[in-house]
Symmetry: C2
Subunit: 334 residues, 2 copies
């Protein structure tokens, strides 16, 4: 592989001149420009980004941490954020942390080791203290990790309320929801949808049962398993609320047991990924604006890398209702 110095030598100029030509910094006469171009072609020269990066103390890489890539919401988030980062000149490194617990820690370490310039984390396993000690570019998805780390989130409280109102307006009297594990030390913003869902239900005098999900499980086999367990119990309920994949598995299990959706049980799902259109009936769902959230996350991490600092920055984006056939009414009004 030819180096910049090889090019300089062949062109009969100094290394600095070639560098200036490549980066369009400083003057290079047209005459030498041609000589350099010529040499570059002859040697099939490509600049070594590794050397350039060492000088500039940057890698151009951003790590995106998620519990699972196959979980539809995260898959879509990754797709969007990768596009946004690409447009801003960064490459996306991904890490699916479900399998290896230490992976999250390792990726944070990569910040210090100059392997990545920034981290966008959608993972909620490590102790917050660890994050508080790191004063490097981190952006969190749906989680407060200390005042220095900006957060991007949907308006989950409104989402929980909307989900509840749809089921209430559809005439439900006894509902169940899959709720995120309550064992995490600090409440994540996304817990609010379940808290609010419960609150609104109780406020309307409706019986609500919470099924607590295992901690940090976002894989299909898990949802499939608990859907199988829960479906028989749902014969005594007329409303159900869960994340898209959970809702879809529960719906198919219920139908397998002979229940009709929405006649016997009505279902509202959270996220609004492509899953919700795949079933019959389609799922009525609360849609997170994932494109917007990905763009926000990309903006924040890039700004943070460029030196901007934020204090208690929190971006909250509105959710919307998507009407499907899994509920009778699709109104969220009081």
């Amino acid at each position: 592989m030819a180096t910049l110095r090889d090019v300089a030598k062949l062109a009969g100029v100094g290394a600095g001149t070639v560098s200036r030509f490549l980066n369009e910094s400083g003057y290079v006469s047209d005459d030498t420009k041609l000589k350099i171009q010529d040499a570059m072609v002859k040697l099939d020269y490509t600049p070594n980004e590794l050397a350039r990066n060492l000088y500039h103390h940057r890698t151009g890489n951003i790590a995106v941490l998620v519990p699972s890539v196959t979980f539809p919401y995260f898959a879509r988030f990754i797709e969007c954020v990768e596009g946004e980062l690409y447009e801003r000149g960064f490459k996306t490194m991904i890490c699916s942390t479900a399998k290896q617990q230490n992976a999250e820690m390792e990726y944070l370490d990569m910040l210090k080791r100059h392997i990545v310039d920034g981290v966008i984390t959608g993972v909620h396993t490590l102790d917050d203290d660890i994050y508080r000690k790191i004063h490097l570019p981190i952006v969190a998805l749906d989680r407060y990790l200390g005042e220095e780390i900006p957060v991007v989130t949907s308006d989950h409280k409104d989402g929980g309320r909307k989900a509840a109102m749809v089921l209430i307006n559809s005439g439900c009297h006894r509902v169940m929801q899959f709720r995120g594990s309550q064992k995490v030390k600090v409440a994540s913003p996304y817990h609010e949808r379940h808290n609010e869902f419960e609150r609104v239900m109780k406020e309307h005098g409706i019986l609500i049962e919470n099924y607590n999900l295992a901690w940090n499980h976002h894989d299909s086999p898990y949802y499939k398993k608990i859907a199988y367990e829960v479906a028989p119990i749902l014969k005594d309920y007329d409303g159900f609320f869960a994340v898209d994949e959970g809702a879809a598995y529960v719906m198919s299990e219920c139908e397998r047991l002979g229940m009709k959706v929405p006649d016997d049980i009505q279902i509202v799902s959270y996220d609004g990924t492509f899953i919700t259109d795949l079933t019959e009936p389609r799922l009525t769902s609360i849609v997170q604006p994932v494109e917007q959230i990905a763009a926000d996350a990309a903006d924040l991490i890039v700004q943070r890398i460029q030196g901007m600092s934020f204090l208690n920055k929190k971006i909250v984006r509105p959710v919307t209702l998507k009407a499907g056939g899994s509920t009778i009414s699709c109104s969220t009004e009081e």
Copy 2:
């Protein structure tokens, strides 16, 4: 940020000694070991991987190119391959090429620019010639890209035959399949499933209609749209074959039009992702061994990076049948 030299100075030793200590190469006396450790802690030292990589001419990054991250098969592939690469000491860079056509080219360029050490490509858009010119570590998924580039693939021919036999044994007489675009210059191995499906059907005197998919479209909205278009036509058919997502959308559209699965129309899907368990009835499907394929791809790219070379290497893994309720019989026997 403290550097290795800072540590050396504080410990009162030479830079080389610290380096040897860090890499456990060469001798370091216990006494100086302690002094170095002490200095490292005091300075909160972390090695700069960028500098180390410049010396070693490696980045530890591997790019994985897919048309779409949300397409369930690719999402699962990414998840698996990321895990496999992580275990082998590599980070996974992803690129979803559907949005930007030039992205594929740019990522190949990153090989030369020392941004990544290798590329695993599941994308089929660029001209083969471009690949033939690059003599750097590349591994292809489901595509022959010249004799130097190893290929990993499922036994798609057997997959096509199995799919056909299930529908035949279930009593179908008039079937349709979604088939990959025929416009690509070189046949990808995955086209074989559709060719074989058609061949077996014709061999058994069964009417087969091919619906040609648009080129390089793997997004949900596209499948949703064509499912909507095709479903009314399917009233005249009793069998259908497509990739998971296509099959699921078609099934829900058919049910919406009042058709019963499997009574009116039977469906077999290809890939066997989590999607196939999400519907009611579940989809009978041909399952690709994605975990195995990801492990193969990881093995090959790492070996290639380590200098091994392959000539016309092709790994073909067997597919299996997963029984679902979308067909009456699930036998693949003649």
